[in-house]
């Protein structure tokens, strides 16, 4: 047979073989597709979280300075902090921020009172709140009664909600309440002239680690400084680890792969007489391997593609994305969750390699093992013999 014409007849033969064992092929297809779906969904979700966090972190300040004392976090005197930070060469635009976590009607919410806390891109087209007003995230909006929101326990404040943050910013704004500084201070326990922390931008971003020692020494009280790269790395490590753990948790799915492989082994061993017949008609071992690999690929490639496509849809298209997030993280249900899909192609390649390569190797090895004997020995395996 000429090399150029070797494959199409083999593929047609393989397709007919699949047709003859329709039920077994369908089972293989379903097992492979669900295995790919389960594994890919966990990994795509962690990748999407990572990409979304990275985009948000890119807009975060280079350094965040918090005052600490024996009891932990302490309010920051704005004037002193600004004066100390401005003394350090390379520091530009130090901005005091007002924010904190306070009790809400259905659990804790994050109150912010300065726009420096929230990336500017999220605030486009949203009118800033006046006294007695607030802009809230999707999670808080669901708990509203009559457009009014009551926050705090000791010093409760009631505000009217004038707007909600867009659904596609849900990962950062789900539990957010944006209000004026005067409304927020009683809730956060701060007096005028105090801030929660200080956001610092640098003239050169690359100096964020080098400048930390000078900056810490400039303040008259102990401070904790967090840089953007460290936060981004922590988020990235968390996302990757959660994806890895999700895959480990999917060991039952890997056992299903083992079952598929075992099924393939049994199938090939049982067909030894058939291989002997083909071999005695002039087929080589390589031809049989090609036939079985073609057969596996006709079933396997669509199964892998379907599994990957379903996982992609489950992670990146709301409201399915919210259900997936709820299932994977066990946290709050975010019906309009929208995640960034950059880097998804790499995850799909990883999944295709992790599932596809062992599957193909199993098909190849078992076929080789079954068809490697002499024609006479293989024909002897016929149960009618």
């Amino acid at each position: 047979m000429m090399p150029g014409t070797r494959y199409p007849p083999m593929v047609i033969w393989a397709a007919r073989d699949i047709q003859r064992h329709c039920g077994r092929s369908m089972l293989l297809f379903a097992c492979l597709a669900s295995l790919v779906f389960l594994t890919a969904m966990a990994l795509l979700f962690s990748q999407a979280l990572d990409a979304t966090w990275e985009r948000l972190m890119d807009q975060a300040p280079d350094l965040v300075v918090r005052r600490i004392d024996g009891g932990g976090w302490a309010p920051l005197p704005v004037d002193v902090a600004m004066a100390c930070a401005k003394k350090i060469p390379g520091v530009i635009d130090p901005t005091p921020r007002l924010w904190g976590v306070v009790p809400g009607p259905e659990g804790p919410v994050t109150v912010v009172a300065s726009i420096a806390v929230v990336p500017e891109s999220m605030l486009k087209g949203i009118p800033p709140p006046s006294a007695g007003q607030a802009v809230v995230g999707q999670g808080v909006a669901r708990a509203l009664s009559g457009g009014r929101l009551s926050l705090g326990s000791n010093h409760s404040v009631t505000v009217s909600v004038i707007h909600t943050f867009p659904a596609d910013t849900g990962l950062a704004t789900h539990d957010l309440v944006w209000m004026t500084p005067d409304d927020a201070r009683p809730l956060l326990g701060l007096v005028p002239g105090q801030a929660s922390d200080l956001a610092v931008h640098l003239f050169r971003r690359e100096e964020e680690r080098a400048i930390q020692a000078d900056l810490a020494a400039a303040f008259p009280w102990p401070v904790r400084i967090t840089d953007r790269s460290t936060s981004a790395l922590n988020h990235h490590t968390r996302a990757v680890r959660s994806g890895g753990i999700a895959v480990v948790a999917g060991i039952p799915a890997l056992l299903a792969l083992l079952l598929i492989i075992t099924g393939t082994v049994v199938d090939n061993t049982a067909r030894q007489a058939y291989w002997g017949l083909l071999k005695s008609m002039g087929w080589t071992t390589a031809d049989m391997v090609r036939l079985q690999v073609s057969r596996a690929m006709i079933v396997g490639i669509p199964a892998v593609v379907l599994g990957l496509a379903s996982a992609y849809a489950a992670v990146f298209y709301p409201p399915a994305a919210g259900i997936t997030a709820f299932w994977v993280t066990g946290g709050q249900h975010l019906p309009a969750l929208t995640l960034v899909s950059s880097g998804a192609a790499m995850v799909m390649i990883e999944i295709a390699a992790m599932v596809g390569l062992p599957f193909l190797a199993a098909v190849f090895l078992t076929t080789l093992r079954a068809a490697d004997g002499s024609p006479w020995t293989l024909l002897q395996a016929d149960p009618w013999n």
């Binding site: 790395l233 990757v240 890895g244 071992t285 990883e350 390699a353 992790m354 190849f364 080789l368």
Partner: protein
């Protein structure tokens, strides 16, 4: 690092390829020790079946191990630097891996090169029924085993080391190299110039040799193109790192080959260094085919065809490499009237 899915994919591909290779190598041992093509007894028939199985397993192992190597390369160049504090490209990852990372890459390269050589011999051997190269092929296939084991060992060491690495500074590593070379800048500049001119001259010589090989595959030495190609690959890599890469980065004194793989530079490194790899592999194929042609006249015809095919491969890879490595520099010169270092 151990949790990263690409690390898992790399190990799955390496383990599967290793299993296939080990199975094939075990069968190749029988072929290597007892191959007697003049006999037709039952043992020789069994060995022929072993030889066929070993060949099939070797081809599949080569495919899987190449996939593993590519996944590892993608990890180092594009993915894993995000797990290493302070790293921005593959330089930072290799810095975090220590010498184990470089050793792993060298042993992976040698293993794949040996298996590629075996593939060339096997491709020639199957063209004639006498099986004159079967024993040599089996020997070559088995000889890849120690290099592959070392590749796996050092890959494991390197990836485990990344797990607990302190902060690295890959740009500092590059700039330190430039600064430490400042005292020897004259020697460094002359080395870069020598490598640039040798890569240009070597490239031209290789192209001329390849044109001759395409026209007259049965004439001339096969070792000469291989020697020139190997020397050219070193010179071209140094010249690209010291001179050509500056036109991608648009800055001088950033001789980092790994940044070329980043999406910011359209992943040009994959194509440029891929071109270098193709030139080296195909030149070795020419050497092996020429050696086979001389020793076994029965395989002269298939060997000649293999030489022609490899020569076309080298010509194509050289054209691609030249366009990608020198294209930005020439475009810069045409646009501005001077080279990047200011010389007219």
């Amino acid at each position: 690092m151990i949790w990263h899915p690409l690390t898992w994919a790399f190990w799955v591909a390496a383990a599967t390829g290793g299993l296939l290779y080990a199975t094939g190598a075990v069968q190749a041992v029988d072929v290597m020790l007892n191959w007697t093509p003049a006999h037709a007894d039952i043992d020789q028939l069994r060995r022929e079946r072993h030889a066929e199985s070993a060949a099939l397993l070797g081809h599949w192992a080569l495919g899987f191990l190449t996939a593993a190597a590519l996944l590892g390369l993608v990890g180092v160049a594009l993915v894993w630097h995000r797990m290493v504090p302070g790293a921005m490209c593959g330089t930072g990852v290799l810095q975090a891996m220590g010498t184990d990372g470089s050793r792993a890459m060298i042993f992976w390269g040698v293993s794949l090169l040996i298996l590629h050589g075996w593939r060339v011999l096997d491709g020639l051997d199957v063209q004639r029924p006498q099986g004159v190269l079967t024993r040599t092929g089996a020997r070559l296939m088995i000889s890849a085993a120690p290099f592959f084991l070392l590749a796996v060992f050092y890959s494991w060491q390197a990836l485990m080391r990344v797990e607990t690495v302190p902060t690295v500074s890959c740009c500092a590593a590059v700039y330190d190299r430039v600064l430490s070379g400042a005292s020897e800048s004259a020697a460094l500049k002359s080395l870069a110039a020598i490598c640039l001119w040798f890569s240009l001259a070597g490239g031209a010589a290789l192209l001329a040799l390849m044109v001759l090989k395409i026209r007259f595959p049965d004439r001339g030495s096969g070792a000469m193109p291989a020697i020139i190609a190997v020397l050219w690959s070193f010179a071209a890599t140094v010249a690209l790192k010291q001179v050509g890469s500056a036109y991608y980065y648009q800055v001088l004194s950033h001789p980092c080959p790994w940044c070329l793989f980043l999406p910011d530079y359209y992943g040009a490194g994959f194509f440029i260094f891929g071109g270098v790899a193709v030139v080296v592999m195909e030149s070795i194929a020419i050497w092996l085919a020429d050696r086979t042609r001389r020793r076994y006249p029965v395989l002269a015809g298939p060997a000649g065809k293999r030489i022609q095919r490899s020569a076309w491969g080298i010509v194509t890879a050289m054209i691609g490499f030249t366009m990608l490595a020198l294209g930005p520099a020439i475009a810069w010169r045409l646009r501005t009237g001077v080279w990047l270092n200011g010389s007219p």
